[in-house]
């Protein structure tokens, strides 16, 4: 009872003042004839962080919106909630053991990087085609399946890099063909209400791919073996075994996760270089800024649409290929992955690349905290899919543009 009373009272306090800030602040700004955009969010966070005092100061001075007026209170809110949690449940492993917290944090960041790779694909597709691919999780699943079959069934002992490459090429081709055949008519005006058409057709693809894989591969879980073994190194900073690496005797990271994260970071760098340094990448960004202007400037927007969809699907396939050595793989894994990437892109702002990255990190950390720290683990485990969805629905209701999205 001690646990719930302190923690939930704090939570209630934060929520109530947040709600008051959200509801009242835009009105006050409107009355003062000032820019009201973002003030709801600002009011909510300042109310949640500083309570009535913060709100009173905000309402008296009505400063114009700056990122720091959101960032600072946001950090303070997280701090207050963790403090309340620590006070309420002092015997929890997350409070007593620093090394446990550190390892949870590191693992959260690592898994978050891999999630962001996948979310980058869906956000790339959204920023250029203006649609959300509901088949994204299935591309992730197919990528993992291809990598598994390459390393374990077809060519045992093949260089895992080749398997990853095959997964990329496979998902790229599926995405390419699908876009050409089914999404192209959307842009040429052959289809009424293209938004709804896109939802249904990608949903149909998800259905098709999932059952196709289930019919050909079967419903038994598969798992690829580790791609690389670490060399055995031991020094003051870290020590390794074949399957994991341990920093400072405290933070242990399993090998598959670390390699997946390293590849994800490399891929992010390559993607950013591609988008900002090459002609094609610049053309892609131009199309996402303004389709007509890009077409006038001589960019083949149809080709860019296809490229964006295929590239986005490839990113999903790549993260699947990296994660098939971490999780056991089923034809249904795509569903969870899809909903996770929806949460990330909505959190980060639809179509925003940095948003997808930071959203992915946040979801990774959130899940690590959720699995590691919450008491009553069985119930918490059942609720884990719901946490992300609660965040998703709340953001859609309060601020559909997310953290970094363009204003509608």
């Amino acid at each position: 009872m001690e646990y719930s009373s302190i923690f939930f009272l704090t939570l209630l306090w934060v929520l109530v003042w947040g709600a008051i800030g959200l509801a009242v602040t835009p009105r006050i700004y409107l009355r003062r004839d000032k820019d009201v955009s973002q003030t709801g969010l600002m009011g909510a966070l300042i109310g949640a962080a500083f309570g009535p005092i913060g709100l009173a100061i905000l309402w008296v001075f009505t400063p114009s919106y700056k990122t720091r007026w959101v960032l600072l209170p946001g950090i303070i809110v997280i701090f207050i909630l963790s403090l309340a949690f620590a006070r309420a449940d002092p015997n929890n492993l997350c409070v007593t053991s620093g090394s446990f917290v550190a390892s949870q944090l590191v693992n959260g960041i690592i898994i978050g990087i891999i999630y962001s790779l996948m979310a980058l694909g869906i956000t790339l597709i959204f920023s250029i085609l203006g649609i959300v691919s509901f088949a994204h999780g299935e591309f992730y699943m197919v990528g993992g399946m291809i990598a598994y079959f390459m390393t374990a069934r077809w060519f045992p002992g093949v260089n895992p890099l080749l398997a990853i490459l095959a997964a990329c090429v496979g998902t790229f081709l599926i995405g390419y063909v699908f876009e050409r055949l089914f999404l192209q008519p959307m842009h040429t005006g052959e289809v009424e209400r293209p938004g709804e058409y896109a939802i249904l057709i990608t949903f149909g693809l998800a259905f098709f791919l999932q059952y196709f894989v289930q019919a050909t591969v079967g419903a038994n879980p598969v798992k690829a073996t580790r791609y690389f073994d670490f060399p055995i190194v031991e020094n003051a900073l870290f020590q390794t075994s074949k399957g994991s690496i341990t920093f400072f005797d405290a933070v242990s990271i399993p090998n598959p996760r670390l390699t997946a994260a390293v590849v994800a970071v490399l891929m992010l760098v390559v993607l950013l270089l591609f988008l900002y340094r090459t002609w094609t990448g610049k053309a892609l960004r131009a199309v996402s800024e303004d389709k007509q202007a890009a077409a006038v400037a001589g960019i083949n927007t149809e080709g860019m649409n296809t490229l964006a969809f295929a590239l986005g699907s490839m990113l999903a396939g790549l993260s699947g290929a990296m994660l098939v050595q971490v999780f056991s793989w089923l034809p249904q894994v795509g569903t969870i992955a899809s909903s996770r990437s929806f949460v990330i892109i909505v959190l980060g702002g639809m179509g925003s690349l940095p948003g997808a990255f930071i959203g992915g990190l946040m979801v990774g950390l959130f899940e690590a905290a959720g699995t590691g720290c919450i008491p009553d683990p069985t119930r918490a485990a059942s609720y884990i899919p719901a946490y992300g969805m609660i965040v998703l629905t709340l953001i859609l209701l309060l601020k559909p543009t997310g953290l970094f999205g363009k204003e509608l």
């Binding site: 509901f134 089914f182 249904l200 057709i201 949903f203 059952y211 639809m350 899919p385 719901a386 209701l397």
Partner: protein, 400 residues
Amino acid sequence: MNRQWIPRIAGILAVVLLFIFPFIYGRADYDFIMHLWITAFFFAILASSWSLLAGYAGQFSFAHMAFMAIGAYTAALYGNYIRILSAPTNLCTEYQIGGRWLVILNPVGVTSSAKDCLEIAKESLPVGTIISQPSIWWGVLGGVLMGGIFGLLVGYLVLRLRSTYLALFTIGFAEILRAAISAEIAITQGQAGLELLPLFPRGLTLFGNTYSSTDKLMPYYAMLFLFLLCMAIMLRLTGTRFGLFIRALREDEEAAAALGVNVVRYKVMVFTITAMMAAAAGAIFGHYIGIITPNILLILQMSLVIAMAVIGGLESIVASAIGAIIILFMLELLRNSFDIGPVRVDMTLWRLVFFGAVLMLTLRFRRNGLIAPILDWFNRAGVAEETVAKRQAAPTEGSD
């Protein structure tokens, strides 16, 4: 005779046939075919009400199965936790109504051997106390109302959200509901599922024939009545201003609002009505199946409904209902696996692959579905000639 009459006559014939079907069908697979029909009606209600929501009003909601589950779970919780006693237990939460006590049992969970409060109170209750379950139809009604309340709530929440955002929000809603039902094991028994009584727990005697509680006849007629009722309501609605207004919403919300359509009201109304239909279907189907689990909320079930509506014809209620019935029967008939040389083709999975391909191709090349154009061919017979004749009769009128 004008061919416009053909679908109407065929429709009346079909309804009559459906009504006498259980009495004229006497083959050995009677139970199986009846089960297929009940399931087909269930999916037909869901697909046609989804087509009213998505095809007519343009609200691509993925929460339809969630409303169905709300109806089913409300009925199940009512049946599991509410009893009527002729004497007070003094242990449970109870309310006196007339000379009887309405008792709400405390949930004890699925694995625990603990007794609920009624079990404990039984030892001290006066001899001859009658413990009865109230009529299940109140539970069904409660399910429908609960579905309506949630439909109203979701309808208000999604007022600002369009296409993709709406789809994401409703997926989120369905997932949260599924997680909550799976996690609250003490109340909903999680994956073990909640049991429901059959529709007529004591059987039924009609015209001198007695049917046991497991007979498929009662659920067949219950589902058929519900199906026809929903179809009648929806067809009536689409013929009125309501149908016109929600189609205006679909085409252009701002323009509709500018022309005086109360956007908020009609959007919320269409959500509420379709949610109530889904909930009613869920409650009846739950009582027929006898057990419900959170798996009815899986996204696969929702995609089946969507696929049925799309293949039938998203923008026609009758077509999506017919599509649902045909697809359900086809899925069952395609279940038989066969061999091509040494390779065994497992049709239980390949039929769904095939089905997914049909869904995509229908969307791509036949936006109006496969059934709707046939209905249109009959319904719109002579319309072109009529229009031409009208124009020729009054060539100058209104031509400015």
